[in-house]
Symmetry: C2
DNA sequence: ACAAAACGAACGGCCGATCGTTTGTAAACC
DNA sequence: GGTTTACAAACGATCGGCCGTTCGTTTTGT
């Protein structure tokens, strides 16, 4: 039988992806040359083409795989969550922060290198992002329906929550003052205060 | 006596900055060539050098001028605000959103092209951003001191608020469903709910 | 042996930046 | 008030260098 890809090839392909994430995160997609990338992997630039079709396809694959993993893991987390909207929102917040802190590079690239994608690739990723936003909006809508949440605009609230939570990636340092658990608690508290029906204050 | 700069030169310099903002916002700093920029302005690439020192200096100037304007206008807005921490926070939120929506391009560039700056320029901008974060932290601290706010970590709360508010820039369209005033109200409500001392809920 | 994978040279093309020159125009002078 | 002068500003050619990609060849591993 013939191999489809040798074991060495699979390791190289993985190394290219790892190095790609690192260099794109550090310098930007446009500023990363394939010669830099190959050098980081330890091969020649021309050898990259045994594993990728074009530079643009590499970027698209990195972002697509990130979005697929995010969607799948979010589904898994929500499937294991309790039934009340408040608990499901708690689960969403915790999962979003934990996942995003573990994959800072992927998240940054998926959010800010979209403009380097051509139109069809761009549309694909935007659709996946819409799907992710939809998962949070479904949680919020459910809470509004049961009266747990008091939300004036589900879509904008979802955008705001996601922006706030994803913003953690821009300042988090593993050796920093706060643990991941503390960061999760702090943001969970803030999100819930912003969503849960308030019985007294009339704001603003 | 000799002129320092002719009127034609000032207009060209302004046109270069305007075109620079547009092209960097659209394609990224690394992907914007000086030939593209010159073409957008209507001159030859070499003529750019009558107005800028290097491509890098152009980026730095654009970001620095944006930050200086942001800091100055924020000071002005807060100086005209009432004394209570709640009202000052309201003022900060409104000003931040309105300013950021008016200068979407500047904001995007100042936030996501920092990595294209060399070390000294980068440090300068980061210091200005720290100063801006400090202004919000001062409002939050004042509210905590008077008992108006219940905040577990002023710095992280400030980061979260800023991430949430700045996130509006990524989806806002002038022709969209919501007016600027509605967006400001919605976010003001969310921020205040997250900060104002709650007398009932024990969360999370 | 055979295919996967790495190699190294080469392609055309665009990059940021520099140079000496020309052009336009406002101020200085007669 | 026309002429001269001085300089900002635009020009066009050009520099060395790096870009993404291709190709034919060689090495590697089973």
């Amino acid at each position: 039988m013939s191999r489809i890809a040798g074991p060495k090839g699979l390791r190289t392909a993985a190394a290219i992806r790892r190095a790609g994430l690192k260099l794109i995160y550090r310098h930007g997609f446009g500023a990363m040359s394939l010669r830099d990338l190959a050098s980081e992997v330890g091969i020649q630039a021309s050898s990259l083409y045994n594993h990728i079709r074009t530079k643009q396809d590499l970027l698209f694959d990195l972002i697509r795989e990130h979005m697929e993993a995010l969607l799948a893991q979010t589904d898994a987390a929500l499937a294991a969550a309790p039934d009340t909207a408040t608990d499901r929102l708690r689960t969403f917040v915790r999962h979003h922060i934990v996942y995003h802190l573990e994959k800072k590079q992927d998240v940054f690239i998926a959010n800010f290198e979209l403009r380097s994608l051509d139109a069809p690739h761009y549309a694909t990723i935007v659709a996946m992002r819409r799907a992710y936003e939809g998962k949070l909006m479904a949680v919020l809508d459910a809470g509004v329906a049961t009266g747990e949440f008091d939300i004036h605009d589900t879509r904008i609230t979802a955008y705001s929550i996601l922006a706030m939570l994803t913003g953690v990636c821009t300042w988090y340092k593993p050796e920093g003052r706060l643990s991941k658990a503390e960061i999760v608690d702090l943001h969970t508290r803030m999100v819930l205060h912003g969503c849960i029906a308030q019985r007294e204050h009339a704001l603003p």
